[in-house]
């Protein structure tokens, strides 16, 4: 079902890459505290935010995602000591090039969410989903062969 912007029922598709040690636990904590956020957010667990290859993000956009968010430990708190610093640098570079590919860079974001910040996870997700909903569907990078209808 490929939705278009004309369709009133359009809901954004959002992929959230979460680091296993902080943000994934933060998302679990949001669940334990029954703090709700939109169901459009689907989480992929990675060992560290530095595991997220820019290719994964481009692939998500290619396959029809409307927004991709990366969550990791706060700077200085990386379980692997320096992983999130790599993420910060890599993503700054990637995001600065997204506009050239025709993707609004507002469709991506890096956020730091610790394992203790269930509420922050929810706030970040609510905010991000709101931002993507405002931007509307992303179609620029979509591979037409990936369409299912």
């Amino acid at each position: 079902m490929q939705m278009t912007s004309d369709n009133e029922n359009w809901e954004p598709k959002i992929i959230a890459f979460c680091c296993n040690w902080c943000s994934y636990s933060g998302a679990d904590l949001a669940g334990t505290n029954r703090l709700s956020y939109p169901a459009n957010v689907k989480i992929i667990r990675v060992p560290c935010s530095c595991r997220i290859n820019p290719m994964f993000i481009l692939r998500a956009f290619q396959r029809g995602a409307d927004g991709v968010i990366l969550c990791g430990c706060h700077p200085g708190d990386c379980h692997y000591m320096t992983g999130n610093y790599h993420t910060r640098r890599r993503m700054t570079l990637l995001f600065s090039m997204l506009d050239f590919l025709g993707i609004e860079k507002e469709r991506t974001r890096v956020e730091w969410v610790s394992a203790a910040e269930g509420q922050r996870f929810v706030d970040v997700m609510n905010d991000f989903v709101g931002q993507i909903t405002e931007l509307g569907p992303s179609r620029r990078l979509e591979d037409l062969r990936c369409r299912t209808n």
Binding site: G31, C48, N53, F56, H86, A115
Partner: protein, 664 residues
């Protein structure tokens, strides 16, 4: 093509209330590769696990997806279950449809749709999963305890009891910690040093325990079972092996103006000092900030009187590296600095003291010899006001306030009030509180005794201002229950200052890659089920460094941490984490970018011979990952320009497959 089984858990109604579990199982049956799908009330129960095992055998499953709670909760449980019937545990994946689906969404249709999507992503990952086998690493049979307070001592004693070597690193010249500074303990009112000093002696005399006092941990490398720790032994200017602790040097030292830390600066000590009579190790230390010889090059009296020739003015900081199998953090707490709380006039009047200072003023070994005297004029106070929750339970952090309850203050204040009344029955005592919190064995009885038997005035309300005036302290306060304003002419004010984590704890947590909460308390691996382990394997938590605790709780946690350490050290070998990086040598160009980003130094380069298509051989430099050192962060996989580096368990193709499935 894998033969995959999908098992959907109801978790009672935790999942089933918001997710149509049958619909998820039905949807799974139509996913290519899935040969069997079912749902069950509690997958983690024995019968649930049996159901998975039976299905694996019956349908010849090669991969399993369990749609249930967070993998942080039960991934291990299910992996162990399938492993017991011969399936590789890494062929099982969890779809988190509880914490990240049913608990956060309310609409059943939306929840079901998301659960199906998460299930499909997990199936897509299992489809590409490969069996992984963990390597084995030997365990160094020695433990490190950081902090020599009651928590660290108890942990070390328990570990030593089991027959393993333990080292204690203590930053102060003696072990003993805060408990050695206390006068009496609640609720039994028994003498604190009478319990703690024999423990210190036990530690000092134990063959299995080595104390590095006046030392700090400066670097931690390695991983569970094989930590390499650098310990800085601060220059003591006294040879520990020669000093007999006779104390002659401290008597002769002419520099008597150094503040005495043990008495919280309420009196002074000499520049060469032994912190207190029962110190372990009982060795003198020269304070380099005050010693005349070290600062001005004149004096040298201590060296002259020392028969053991232990004084060495040329001593320097030394660093040693020791290997450990396990590390226990027992860094304890500090008393918060309350000088920012202007209304209590702590900085203005010496008669406004913190509770720990009051403790020293009551103590027979304290600055007043146990006689309660005001620090300003050495007169006995007749009216004392205790203020509770100074800095605790305060959401405004601009003055360093803490959002948490410091837990021990209600009880020690009742103790202080009773002890004061015991010694000086004519003293008037007022306690201002927000709530009195006394959960604990014999705690409430203790507090009621203070009120009913001793006639301590407990007033629910806040102190607004303390004004020093003509040698008195004018305390203005409100009584919330009577709804009136009070003015009390007090002689002393005692502030129950909040406790906060040791100031070195955050730096240590960074060294250990252990996590901390927003208040800088160490985080436990699981708040209920793994309370003494940090999320970092091989690092354990003992005592107040994990959160406010009283002494019995600290000792209990110390013993629990020790038992976890013993469990770890009793193994000869540890199964490593098989989710490590590996390099495809055919693709690797030997550019060494991966080694640059590896935080563990797990990547090295080797020259390898390759056979070329024209039958010649060529030597190329390629990356090689040491699986015992790699921790599996994946930094190298992204940095690799040729795509040679990949991560087991979280491979490029697996994550891509998940992305594809979730975007579908």
């Amino acid at each position: 093509m894998q033969k995959i089984g999908v098992f959907v858990c109801h978790c009672g109604t935790n999942i089933a209330a918001t997710v149509d579990v049958e619909a998820v199982a039905e949807a799974a049956r139509h996913v290519p590769g899935v040969v069997y799908a079912t749902d069950y009330t509690y997958m983690c129960s024995q019968s649930g696990q049996d159901l998975i095992k039976d299905a694996v055998k019956k349908y010849g499953l090669t991969g399993v997806v369990v749609c249930s709670c967070s993998p942080r909760m039960h991934e291990k449980t299910f992996r162990k279950a399938v492993n017991s019937i011969g399936m590789n545990p890494y062929m099982l994946e969890i779809a988190n449809i509880r914490e990240q689906c049913s608990w956060v969404h309310k609409d059943k249709e939306v929840g079901t749709e998301k659960a199906i999507s998460l299930m499909k992503a997990a199936v897509a990952k299992v489809e590409l999963d490969a069996p992984l086998t963990a390597g084995e690493t030997p365990v160094v049979k020695r433990a490190l305890v950081i902090g020599g307070g009651i928590a660290g001592m108890q942990t070390a004693l328990d570990i030593a009891d089991a027959g393993y070597d333990v080292d204690i690193v203590e930053k102060n010249p003696t072990i003993g910690g805060k408990m050695a500074q206390l006068d009496k303990t609640f609720p039994t009112l028994d003498c604190s040093s009478c319990i703690v000093t024999p423990k210190m002696v036990d530690v000092g005399q134990n063959d299995k325990i080595h104390i590095y006092s006046y030392s700090e941990v400066t670097d931690v490398k390695g991983f569970v079972g094989n930590f390499k720790v650098t310990i800085k032994r601060k220059a003591r200017y006294v040879d520990e092996t020669k000093c007999t602790g006779c104390g002659l040097c401290t008597e002769k030292c002419p520099m008597k103006k150094a503040p005495n830390e043990f008495n919280l600066g309420l009196n002074n000590r000499t520049a060469i000092y032994i912190p207190f009579a029962q110190a372990v190790p009982k060795v003198a230390t020269i304070d380099p900030n005050y010693c005349l010889m070290l600062n001005k090059g004149v004096c040298g009296l201590c060296s002259k009187v020392c028969d053991a020739h232990a004084i060495n003015y040329k001593d320097t900081d030394k660093e040693i590296e020791v290997e450990y199998g396990a590390i226990v953090a027992a860094t304890g707490y500090e008393i918060m600095d309350v000088s920012k709380y202007d209304e209590y006039a702590y900085a203005q009047s010496p008669d406004v003291v913190t509770s720990l200072e009051y403790e020293r003023l009551m103590n027979a070994a304290g600055p007043t010899g146990g006689e309660l005297l005001r620090p300003s004029d050495h007169k006995r106070p007749k009216t004392i006001v205790f203020v509770q929750c100074v800095g605790s339970r305060e959401c405004d952090s601009t003055r360093g306030g803490k959002p948490y309850c410091s837990k021990i203050c209600c009880m020690y204040t009742a103790k202080h009030a009773m002890l004061t009344k015991d010694h000086y029955p004519d003293t008037d005592i007022y306690v201002f509180y927000i709530d009195v919190r006394t959960p604990g064995k014999n705690f409430d009885e203790f507090y009621r005794r203070a009120v009913e038997q001793y006639g301590v005035h407990y007033i629910k309300g806040a102190v607004g201002k303390v004004t020093p005036e003509n040698g008195k302290l004018i305390v203005q306060a409100s009584d919330l229950l009577m709804n009136e304003q009070l003015t009390i002419n007090a002689d002393m004010v005692v502030l129950a200052a909040a406790i906060e984590p040791s100031h070195s704890a955050r730096h240590l947590a960074t060294l250990l890659t252990a996590s901390m909460d927003t208040n800088d308390w160490f985080t436990e691996a699981h708040p209920k089920l793994r309370p003494v382990e940090s999320p970092t394997a091989g690092v354990f938590l003992s005592g107040v460094c994990q959160g406010p605790k009283d002494i019995p709780e600290t000792v209990a946690q110390a013993g629990a941490a020790a038992s976890k350490v013993i469990g770890l050290l009793s193994k000869d070998k540890l199964a490593g984490n098989p989710c490590v990086a590996h390099s495809d040598e055919m693709m690797c160009t030997g550019c060494s970018q991966c080694a640059d980003v590896c935080p563990y130094g797990a990547i090295t380069y080797v020259d390898k011979e390759f056979r070329m298509p024209d039958r010649t051989t060529k030597v190329r430099r390629v990356a090689e990952v040491n699986p015992a050192v790699c921790q599996g962060c994946g930094a190298c996989t992204v940095t690799c320009p040729s795509g040679a580096m990949d991560l087991n368990g979280f491979s490029n193709s697996e994550i891509m497959a998940e992305v594809d499935a979730l975007c579908r």
